[in-house]
């Protein structure tokens, strides 16, 4: 997901007997679905975990602009170009809303960005795959945004007020992203043989990474269990992945595309699709930095940030000069 395998800094789930009275009261409020707000007392581990999770999420939105940005200058029609620009702009906005949510926890956006550039924090591995043809833009909207929405809708109910509110805004805006992706896929699948081949090629390359977005099974994970107690994670990775597969396979069939999984079959008894094994070695490799685009993505973001340094400094310098002039004039 946009935030993967977030470390809580704990090695086991904290149970009530180990909690201070203050922690017990905190957990009781979470259990009662009372939102935690920035100035409320919170356990340090809760705060740190949230910062990690929200910033991973924010970085994912920001880095996520790049694979789509790769095609914005080559969009095939003016309408598609406008839609894609608006969509990528939304991703920047989502990054901004999420950084703002993290900032309520006492960290600065610039520090978070430095951490990203220094490789200290991750962003979603999905963005380390390349966009090689125009149908990839369709596939990203359809599959990647589709998977993201699956995770984000429950997060609108998470325990931390500013994060939940940011997610509400993001989900509202995201609703057009998945549809525009599917719309591109439909046009490609109804188009020429070349276009249909591009669509199939895109699905072949994005299917498995999309399933990996939900992260490895977390049934046994201490971190996930703790995050679920804190209600900053609402559903398990496997649960979300299954929902995604169940929703997406019929859509692929509608498009007339073949899902690249020979083991995929409908289980009438369970009412769910069964998939073949996911190659977690690939997932781990991409996470370690061996994806096709890890290096490029960070290099481009870092260059943009470094090239912008003098602009940001100039704006502050100008604001200070103006403030000084105004206070002199008032004196």
């Amino acid at each position: 997901m946009y935030a993967q395998m977030v470390d809580t800094g704990l090695n086991k789930v904290v149970d009530a007997s180990q909690m201070s009275p203050q922690e017990q009261a905190f957990q009781a409020r979470i259990d009662a679905d009372v939102k935690v707000e920035p100035r409320d007392w919170m356990p340090e581990a809760y705060r740190r975990t949230l910062v990690r999770q929200i910033q991973q999420h924010a970085h994912s939105e920001v880095v996520g602009q790049l694979p789509e940005g790769n095609w914005v200058t080559r969009a095939p029609t003016l309408k598609r170009k406008a839609i894609l620009m608006a969509k990528i702009q939304d991703e920047a906005g989502h990054g901004l809303y999420l950084y703002s949510a993290a900032e309520t926890l006492g960290v600065s956006r610039d520090d978070l960005i430095d951490d990203l550039h220094a490789g200290k924090v991750k962003y979603s591995s999905i963005f380390n795959y390349p966009t090689l043809n125009w149908a990839d833009i369709g596939a990203i909207g359809w599959l990647v945004d589709g998977a993201a929405i699956m995770n984000q809708i429950p997060l609108c109910r998470c325990s931390y007020g500013p994060y939940a509110r940011a997610m509400v805004r993001i989900c509202k805006e995201e609703s057009f992203h998945q549809r525009q992706g599917f719309d591109i896929m439909m046009a490609m699948c109804r188009g020429s043989a070349d276009q249909k081949a591009m669509a199939q090629d895109a699905l072949d390359r994005w299917w498995w990474p999309s399933l990996m977005m939900f992260g490895p099974s977390d049934a046994e994970s201490v971190h996930s269990a703790q995050s679920m107690r804190w209600k900053i994670k609402l559903l398990s990775n496997d649960e979300l992945r299954q929902r995604f597969v169940d929703q997406t396979v019929p859509q692929a069939e509608y498009l007339g595309l073949r899902v690249p999984d020979p083991a995929l079959r409908w289980n009438a008894q369970s009412g769910h699709y069964e998939t073949g094994p996911i190659d977690w070695a690939e997932f781990q490799a991409v996470l370690r930095g061996h994806g096709p685009c890890n290096r490029d993505r960070i290099r481009v973001r870092k260059e943009a940030w470094d090239d912008g340094q003098w602009v940001r400094e100039a704006a502050m310098a100008h604001a200070r000069k103006r403030a000084e002039r105004e206070s002199r004039a008032a004196a």
């Binding site: 901004l96 610039d110 805004r169 940001r312 704006a315 502050m316 100008h318 403030a323």
Partner: protein
């Protein structure tokens, strides 16, 4: 000196007659930029007809620890609500 722009809180009035509501925050080097950034970031989908921006540092907020002292005393002043006064069904327009 840091070049990080200060944080601003953005309030948007969505249509005539409604109050400004907190929309989110953003960074800007000065008030004019904060206003323009608020327009570009928070009204892309016709969300607003009026914007307020306030430096986050200038917001004075109540402390969570004062919650009981500030807000609990209102709990037993039920006579402030109209439902405290039952009216006979025959009496209209009140």
């Amino acid at each position: 000196m840091t070049s990080e722009w200060p944080l601003w809180e953005v309030f948007i009035r969505s249509q005539h007659g409604l109050a400004h509501k907190h929309a989110g925050s953003l960074h800007a080097s000065d008030a004019e930029m904060a206003m323009k950034n608020a327009r570009d970031v928070y009204t892309r989908r016709n969300e607003g007809v009026s914007i307020w921006v306030v430096k986050s540092a200038d917001v004075v907020a109540s402390a969570p620890g004062d919650r009981e002292a500030l807000f609990d005393p209102a709990n037993d002043k039920v006579y402030r609500h109209p439902t405290f006064f039952p009216m006979p069904d025959e009496v209209k327009h009140i």
